[in-house]
């Protein structure tokens, strides 16, 4: 397949995942669905965090990623400050690596 066609196909399927619900969902009539959608943020955040810290290479490991992440959790919990949390986490990672 032509590379440009592949790029176009990638763009189309990606846009579809972003746009379909936003363009087609009118009223949410199911209470369970309505509640489920409200818990998407904490769920997706945790789903992105856990493997990145505990299994960065695809298998469980307690390495620099985990310790840096735990330091970040403490910083995030106490300060709620994103810049500071990033600095603390990256700093610990740099020290341990």
């Amino acid at each position: 397949m032509n590379t440009w066609l592949i790029l176009l196909g990638m763009a189309l399927v990606t846009y579809a995942t972003r746009a379909l619900p936003l363009l087609t969902m009118r009223d949410v009539n199911s209470p369970l669905l309505e509640r489920t959608l409200r818990y998407v943020p904490p769920a997706i955040f945790a789903a992105l965090i856990a493997p990145a810290l505990l299994a960065p290479e695809g298998s469980l490991e307690a390495g620099p990623h985990l310790w840096a992440g735990l330091a970040g959790v403490v910083a995030a919990w106490t300060t709620r400050n994103m810049a500071l949390t990033i600095i603390v986490g990256l700093g610990i990672f740099a020290l341990l690596r």
């Binding site: 590379t3 592949i6 399927v13 995942t17 997706i44 789903a47 298998s59 994103m82 990256l90």
Partner: protein, 249 residues
């Protein structure tokens, strides 16, 4: 909606120009969203450069490399696609892999839908183009708590879009000067910032349940499931767990 008559009445009786006031508020939110996303640039830049190097190595032309960033605008899937191009994968399988990696967007988009449905179709279509994990993460809580409008999300989307295009350009210009920009561990910026954004949610039991179930499922799925299916399943399972715990109380 009875907002309009109210607006007109206020404008008539108090001489307040509410429309101008709302426009100023939206501009403020746009800027807020842009600025609040800036700490994530630390992670975006090396990731964008790494994508560019991978795409170049795979034999994509500079124009194709940039076009993918401009049109697809989804880091993880672009990076994976570069690897597939390098391996000579069939076009259809590259497109399908992209679809699977990005299926999680369905959940992000669906969870925003109830809060953005008052917007015109064109505005929703435009906002949707820029939805990413990162910009969603920055804007979603304030939008769901109705502390901010869609302008906040638009600002966050633009912030990420601009930094992604600039880092793709930087990768093209730097060429082989940096061999592995991800070696510094700057990719940790993403889980670290998601941690900060998760904190305000951890005040209720259902939210705890959502986070714990999603985290556990993601971890198990990352190790057991092929490809990127785990993100969709974990996010879906986690938010369902949150909803069920809320119902029980």
């Amino acid at each position: 909606m009875d907002a309009k008559p109210k607006t007109q009445e206020l404008e008539r009786t108090r001489g307040v120009n509410l429309r101008a006031l709302l426009e100023r508020q939206a501009r403020g939110e746009l800027w807020r969203g842009f600025v609040d996303t800036m700490p994530l640039w630390i992670g975006v830049v090396p990731f964008g450069i790494a994508y560019t190097l991978a795409a170049q190595t795979a034999g994509l032309t500079p124009l194709q490399t940039l076009a993918m960033s401009l049109l697809v605008f989804a880091g993880a899937s672009q990076f994976t696609a570069a690897g597939l191009f390098a391996g000579g994968a069939a076009g259809l399988s590259i497109i399908l892999t992209t679809l699977v990696i990005n299926l999680r967007h369905l959940l992000l988009s669906a969870s925003l839908a109830p809060f953005l449905r008052h917007l015109s179709l064109w505005k929703r279509a435009g906002l949707a183009f820029g939805i990413t994990d990162e910009s969603y993460a920055v804007a979603v809580r304030r939008i769901m708590e109705r502390q901010a409008g869609p302008a906040l999300l638009l600002g966050a989307n633009i912030s990420l879009y601009v930094s992604w295009q600039l880092s793709t350009l930087a990768g093209l210009l730097l060429g082989g000067i940096i061999s592995d920009p991800t070696a510094l561990g700057l990719g940790l910026v993403f889980p670290l910032s998601f941690t900060v954004l998760l904190m305000p949610y951890l005040r209720s039991r259902p939210a705890w349940a959502a986070a714990l179930v999603a985290g556990g499922l993601a971890l198990a799925g990352r190790m057991l499931l092929p490809g990127s299916w785990y993100l969709l399943f974990a996010a879906l399972g986690g938010s369902l767990a949150g909803a069920l715990v809320e119902k029980k109380r």
